[in-house]
């Protein structure tokens, strides 16, 4: 099976700002890959270059065995981060228009559009104007417009932002269904837990560069747990823990101590020692989340853990305000 997407040595700058640099990536056919990273990391720029909406300064791109997405536009479904609708157009007409722009045959298109609208509980909206829909409904219509022409490759930029939990679940099911149909999917998100739930493979991007590219299983085995959560039975003295040579950091989160241990200390030993030191109500070895891994990778590049976490959270917070 060939690659759906191959990027090599991509670089793109906007004036003095380098948005993406040294980007190499291969996405196999049928893969589900998540692009993660904080806001402004270069995810959208990379996606726009894959889509040939903007062009790289240097580097080469191959999409669906063609040198440019321009030549395979009709086989790609794209949901950009900045997405809109023709507000005055009727929902059905809009979906038909978009599908036809993507080369879908007009035969039976209306019925197909109607069926899809039925699936996402929007059958009644066929003749409504797009502007009459709520934001969540509009988002479902936008998603449908990306898949209406049965593309081989789906590129979705922040597909779940601003959805309520019910619609989020519906969209996720549709999304996974596309994956089971064998379609290659790339989606970007700054919400790492979504990527964790959905993806086979994770590509982490920070400051325009790829900092991680592995399957979820590989990531889990590479980054063994290094954080122990402790709920002390009584009021605990955290300073006592700080003094220990094998403890890297201690954070108190509402009475639960997050103890980071040094790489050379096996977690098993650490747990035994903690239990020996103080009476505990609960002790647990926490698997690293993608966020933790991201923080760990990025930390080495001069950013403090706190800064990285804040930049991630600010993205999430911004989105919550938006939704």
């Amino acid at each position: 099976m060939g690659d759906a997407i191959t990027l090599s040595g991509l670089r793109k700058s906007f004036g003095p700002k380098i948005a993406v640099e040294g980007m190499d990536l291969r996405v196999g056919k049928g893969e589900l890959v998540g692009f993660i990273g904080p806001n402004g990391a270069g995810k959208t720029t990379t996606i726009r270059m894959i889509m040939s909406i903007i062009f790289p300064d240097t580097g080469t791109i191959s999409v669906l065995d063609r040198p440019s997405a321009v030549e395979s536009k009709d086989r790609i479904g794209y949901l950009p981060e900045e997405r809109g609708l023709y507000r005055k157009m009727k929902v059905g007409a809009f979906l038909c228009h978009m599908a036809q722009l993507k080369g879908a045959s007009p035969d039976g298109l209306k019925q197909k559009v109607y069926k899809w609208l039925e699936r996402v509980d929007l059958a009644k909206c066929y003749k409504l104007k797009c502007e009459e829909l709520s934001k969540g409904m509009q988002q479902k219509v936008q998603f449908l417009s990306a898949i209406m022409h049965d593309p081989d490759l789906l590129i979705l930029d922040e597909p779940f932002s601003g959805l309520d939990p019910v619609n989020m679940r519906m969209m996720r099911d549709l999304f996974l269904e596309q994956h089971t149909l064998g379609r290659t999917i790339i989606f970007s998100t700054h919400q790492m837990h979504q990527a964790e739930q959905l993806c086979d493979r994770i590509v982490m991007i920070n400051k325009g560069q790829k900092v991680l590219d592995s399957t979820l299983a590989e990531i889990r085995s590479d980054y063994d747990p290094r954080t122990i959560l402790v709920e002390p039975l009584d009021e605990a003295d955290a300073s006592q823990l700080h003094a220990l040579p094998w403890v890297r950091e201690v954070a108190d989160r509402d009475g639960i101590l997050e103890i980071g241990i040094h790489d050379d200390t096996p977690p098993r030993d650490a747990i035994q020692r903690i239990v020996a030191m103080m009476p505990v109500a609960k002790i647990e070895l926490r698997r690293p989340t993608l966020e933790d891994i991201f923080v760990e990778i990025v930390q080495g590049e001069g950013q403090s853990a706190q800064e990285v976490r804040e930049s991630l959270r600010s993205g999430i917070a911004a989105e919550e305000v938006e939704s």
Binding site: R48, M51, I53, I54, V70, K73, D74, I76, Y78, L79, P80, E82, R83, G84, L85, Y86, R87, K88, M89, H97, M98, Q100, L101, K102, Q142, S145, A146
Partner: protein, 460 residues
């Protein structure tokens, strides 16, 4: 190409098939037509009410009065009335080339003449020693429709003969009642003025009729003599080219304006990136330009048809040939592409309509120029000025339409030459604006200025 047509079809449908457009483009012209063909004839046939009353006159010279009395006799009044009607008829008839006046035109002229006020005036001669201020009192009561004294004419004592030859002659004062028909007061001024004129000539020992004949020279209408023959230049001929130019200007501007707003709309509601994933920026721009060209063309044909209809009614079609009409469409397309490509680029470059205003200045200038140049070009359609402008895009199409429809069409070679130059102009303009369009579409934030646009052209 299929995608371009698809974009164009949507563009056309979303603009031309909306209630607002149909109202603006169909209902307004219908109302205008209603005005011309229904309301105007009604207004024309409405007869002015009969005016009756007295005209008081004070003549201290005693030399003016007999002539005024003569002029105010019923026969003389009737004669003047007829002369006036004849003038109106002639004026109406003149709009058409001689000998082409139709039944309807003559009929309309007669109707127009009938709206002149019928008068029944009697002259009231006042004592030269009377107090003018007291005699004005009757004028203050009511209006001209109530009858009574309608006007007071007071002749100056030195109107006919002056004691000191170094001083100018005196004249007369005319006091009138409110709402007196201006045609009656104008008539009175003429009658008294001529009476004083005659009295002065008589006083100088000459025969007024003889002197009058000496001073009258009739002014002929100019006749244009060319190798195609001779024709009388009617006044309407200067307006016809203007009408044609305005027609393409309106169609171009409406199409261009819609293009600007739909582009801004697509950009501001962020649909554009989705669209760009399906079509290239060039396809999008071409489709949009073609779609709005359909809108402009629809307007051109419709307004053109209305205009043609009016020309037929007023039998003014003589100066319009099929070739002219065809060239009108050709020049419309060229002018449209020049303006529309600029509009598309501006629409793509800005974030909202307000920001577009500052960039619109050059476009507005281009569209204002032909209006300003209309008179100089019409006066000398084949002068160096007009010839150069006729070959200079982007105003060339408008200038050429003015020239082609003028009384002196340009030499034949200039038409293909201007078309060729404009085609080249369109090509260059499209190349430049397509670059701005491509870069601008995905640029949000600070609105660009001219230097930014130039940078984009270089960048793309």
């Amino acid at each position: 190409m299929k995608k371009v047509l698809r974009v164009a079809a949507r563009e056309f449908a979303s603009t031309a098939l909306t209630k607002g457009f149909i109202f603006g483009a169909f209902i307004v012209p219908l109302l205008m037509m209603g005005l011309v063909f229904v309301l105007l004839p009604i207004l024309m046939t409405e007869k002015a009410p009969k005016v009756s009353g007295t005209i008081a006159i004070v003549d201290p010279t005693g030399a003016v009065l007999p002539a005024v009395q003569e002029a105010m006799k019923p026969e003389a009044l009737l004669k003047r009335q007829e002369a006036r009607e004849a003038r109106v008829k002639e004026a109406m008839g003149q709009t058409a080339p001689k000998g082409l006046a139709t039944e309807s035109q003559i009929d309309m002229a007669a109707k127009a003449a009938a709206t002149l006020p019928k008068t029944e005036l009697t002259l009231e001669i006042l004592d030269p020693a009377t107090d003018i201020e007291r005699e004005k009192e009757p004028l203050r009561i009511g209006t001209a429709q109530d009858g009574g004294r309608l006007a007071l004419i007071s002749i100056s004592p030195n109107a006919v003969e002056r004691p000191d030859p170094s001083q100018p002659f005196g004249s007369f004062d005319l006091f009138i009642k409110p709402k007196l028909d201006d045609r009656i007061s104008g008539d009175l001024r003429t009658v008294v003025g001529e009476a004083i004129f005659d009295a002065r000539i008589t006083a100088a020992g000459q025969d007024p009729a003889y002197i009058r004949s000496l001073t009258q020279v009739s002014r002929p209408d100019p006749v244009t003599v060319s190798k195609d023959g001779e024709k009388k230049a009617g006044q309407w001929q200067i307006f016809l080219p203007f009408g044609f130019m305005a027609l393409i200007m309106i169609s171009v501007m409406v199409g261009g304006q819609y293009l600007l707003t739909t582009t801004i709309e697509e950009k501001s509601n962020r649909i554009v990136e989705v669209i760009l994933s399906a079509v290239s920026p060039m396809e999008l721009m071409t489709g949009k330009i073609l779609g709005q060209m359909g809108v402009g063309l629809a307007l051109l044909l419709m307004y053109g048809a209305v205009g043609w209809g009016s020309l037929i009614i007023f039998t003014l079609t003589a100066g319009v040939t099929l070739l002219n009409a065809l060239l009108l469409v050709v020049y419309f397309i060229l002018a449209y592409f020049l303006i529309a490509s600029m509009m598309a680029a501006i629409g793509a470059a800005v974030n909202d309509l307000r920001e577009a205003q500052s960039l619109m200045t050059p476009v507005m200038l281009v569209t204002m120029l032909p209006y300003l140049l209309w008179l100089p070009i019409s006066r000398d359609p084949n002068g160096t000025f007009a010839t150069v402008l006729g070959l200079l895009p982007p105003i060339s199409p408008f200038v050429m339409v003015l020239r082609i429809n003028s009384t002196e069409p340009p030499p034949m070679w200039q038409i293909p030459a201007s078309i060729l130059i404009n085609v080249i102009g369109v090509y260059i303009m499209l190349r430049l604006t397509a670059k701005i369009f491509r870069v601008g579409l995905l640029m949000y934030g600070k609105p660009p200025n001219l230097s930014t646009l130039i940078k984009w052209v270089r960048m793309a």
